[in-house]
Amino acid sequence: MELDAKIGVLNNAGGSSEVSLNGIKVVCGINGPMEARPRQELPTTCYLEVIIRPAIGNPTVREKYMEDKIKNFLNSVIIGNLYPRQVIQVNLQILEKKNNNSSYTSDSDESAATEDVLLELNCCINSAFLALVDANISIYKAFNSNIFTYTHKGSLVKDGLSEAKSRHLVVYGIKNNKVDELLYGENVGRFSEKKLFMALERGEKESMILHSKLKELSVESVKQKFVYLS
């Protein structure tokens, strides 16, 4: 499904974005850099706080788990030493989750919740990137996330179908218009080593395509922000 994104949707946040992808809609707001509470303060770098709120209900352990996944690589992307003793807060609110599951039992809900982790992460990561750009936070490299699935027949398809043999979420960092490094990869299901690397290679290509799209959007937003310069 095509990515649909907007930048600067929240007026009071430092930076914000709204992304809908694969039936999931996420709004991301960035607050900071701002003063840290004494407990969070790090002397040489910034403290990164990622908060995910689900579409329905209160955040649970599942959201904590997703926050951790995002925090892991985001820490290395943000140039932390520019913001010592400060906090950068990344708030991600999942707005919509298309439930294509018509089943009714509680246990299929549960497996769907686990299945959706990757789809939600995918959307959150792309949204976080746009919001970081909007918030003028210095980053070492751009990044974006793509999701791929192997069907039962063995073909590699972009975007996540629930009926799949394996699913691969790949996040690449992009520097100077070139794929720089693999920031995060989550691969679940049944797959071989060869298939894993094929998915990673495909991820490299697709992330360049997605990057040019996100870049267009962010260039537009920067232009609008600094309109007095031109």
């Binding site: 352990v61 599942r62 904590k64 788990y65 951790d68 892991n72 690589f73 820490n75 290395s76 992307v77 089943s103 009714y104 039992t105 509680s106 246990d107 299929s108 549960e110 497996s111 769907a112 686990t114 299945e115 982790v117 039962h152 629930s162 009926e163 043999k165 394996s166 996040v171 960092g173 490094e181 693999l182 920031l183 995060y184 990869g185 989550e186 691969n187 679940v188 299901g189 049944r190 797959f191 071989s192 080593e193 060869k194 298939k195 894993l196 690397f197 990673l200």
Partner: protein, 410 residues
């Protein structure tokens, strides 16, 4: 004012340096070919799987002897200096049916049930909704109590999701085949189960409701010295392997079956889908009889490997490392690595390694399958040193080796 200002070098003990400058401490160690924990680069922690204590479990291995314990399975492992206990407990729930489709009529109700079963069978066998998981609670002892830490929450969710995604616990394993407690011709109380008595009319076992087990795992970790996902997963796997589920029966004497069925027909009880107190109490776990929990595959092991690049700026100059007796044995690893490739460190341990290693690869290989698709999960966390294709391949190789090793041990 002629006092001369001198900058005196400060020295710290290794433990202090590891905490205040983990990167420096680790790099200095690695540059001479040794890790802060004194293991070599690709040496795993020793794992000791202790025999489980029969006194903890409700159903012991030699069947029959039962205790008042509610523990269905347990494990006790030691990984390096870390000790992990895992106990499995359980409960059962009524299998939920669609509310709006249920009718007052019991026959109608059964028809819907059959239909829904058919529908489910039509679904693909490896759809995730045909598998179950356990609900783990993990406690890492650090001398204080309170709300669970982030790490505890994240690991318990990781265990939960990984177990579901690896599809080793099929739905059928947790379904309950209700037995019946009744009286025979001579008025003796007997308990009969559908799977063990072929000569008994199967219509006896047609209960209006279906139940299935839910499993909980409580994992306690003592003296943690590094990331504990691998050890916690191992403890969970071994505990699940030893888990025995009780046989469950319906007590005919204490209830009126007809009454129960008629209570079902009242619209309210069907709509709410809740076991009412009366019918719930008639379902009893057999004190002596149990069966093993069936797992699709019990030889899955997670392996976490840290990746770090050597930074020449931090290296320590030791004269003639090659010929120094103390370092001779340790410097082997240095030469087996290609230039520019990160060093792989197995079983991250200690402050320096934990804080300085940014990139990690977590692999779960399936070593039992002949199939080409022999990987269940690969998680790559980048951000530290660059994760190269070569290092992912090597990590997968190491994980397979480690899994085979653990398989032999358990």
């Amino acid at each position: 004012m002629s006092e001369e200002f001198q900058l005196k070098p400060v020295s710290f003990s290794p433990e202090v340096l590891a905490r205040i400058a983990p990167e420096l401490s680790l790099q200095r160690h690695l540059s001479v070919g040794v890790r802060p924990c004194l293991r070599s680069f690709q040496e795993f922690k020793s794992v000791q799987i202790n025999p489980q204590l029969d006194s903890i479990n409700r159903y012991t291995s030699n069947q029959g002897i039962s205790s008042k314990s509610t523990v269905l399975g347990s494990s006790n492992i030691k990984c390096g200096n870390t000790i992990i206990f895992c106990t499995i407990t359980g409960g059962f729930i009524e299998t939920l049916l669609p509310n709006d489709e249920a009718d007052e009529n019991v026959k109608e109700y059964e028809k819907i049930y059959e239909n829904s079963e058919k529908q489910e069978n039509n679904q693909q066998d490896d759809s995730l909704s045909n598998f179950r998981t356990v609900y783990p609670i993990i406690e890492i002892e650090r001398g204080r109590t309170g709300a669970p830490t982030d790490e505890e929450m994240i690991i318990s969710q990781t265990l939960h999701d990984t177990l579901l995604n690896s599809k080793i616990l099929p739905k059928e394993s947790l379904e309950i085949d209700l037995g019946l407690k009744t009286v025979d011709k001579d008025n003796n109380e007997i308990i009969i189960y559908p799977n063990e008595s072929k000569d008994i009319d199967s219509s006896l076992f047609q209960f209006p409701r279906k139940y299935s087990f839910v499993l909980y795992a409580s994992i306690q970790v003592f003296s943690r010295s590094g990331p504990i996902l691998d050890a916690a997963w191992l403890a969970l796997m071994i505990a699940l392997k030893s888990t025995k589920l009780p046989c469950v029966y319906f007590d005919e004497k204490n209830s009126n079956l007809l009454n129960d069925i008629s209570s079902l027909s009242s619209k309210k009880s069907v709509k709410t889908g809740v076991v009412n107190a009366k019918s719930g109490s008639q379902i009893i776990c057999d004190p002596t009889k149990s069966h093993d929990l069936k797992l699709n595959n019990s030889d899955l092991y997670t392996t976490t490997i840290g990746l770090i690049e050597l930074d020449k700026d931090f290296s320590v100059e030791i004269e003639d490392v090659e010929n120094n007796e103390d370092f001779k044995a340790l410097s082997v690893d240095k030469h087996t690595r290609n230039e520019g490739e990160p060093i792989l460190l197995c079983d991250i341990e200690g402050d320096a390694e934990e804080n300085a290693i940014g990139s990690r690869v977590v692999v779960i290989p399936d070593i039992n399958t002949e199939d080409d698709d022999n990987l269940v999960s690969v998680t790559i966390i980048g951000g530290g040193s660059k994760v190269t294709k070569q290092s992912i391949q090597n990590s997968i190789g190491l994980a397979k080796l480690r899994s085979k090793n653990l398989q032999q041990q358990s």
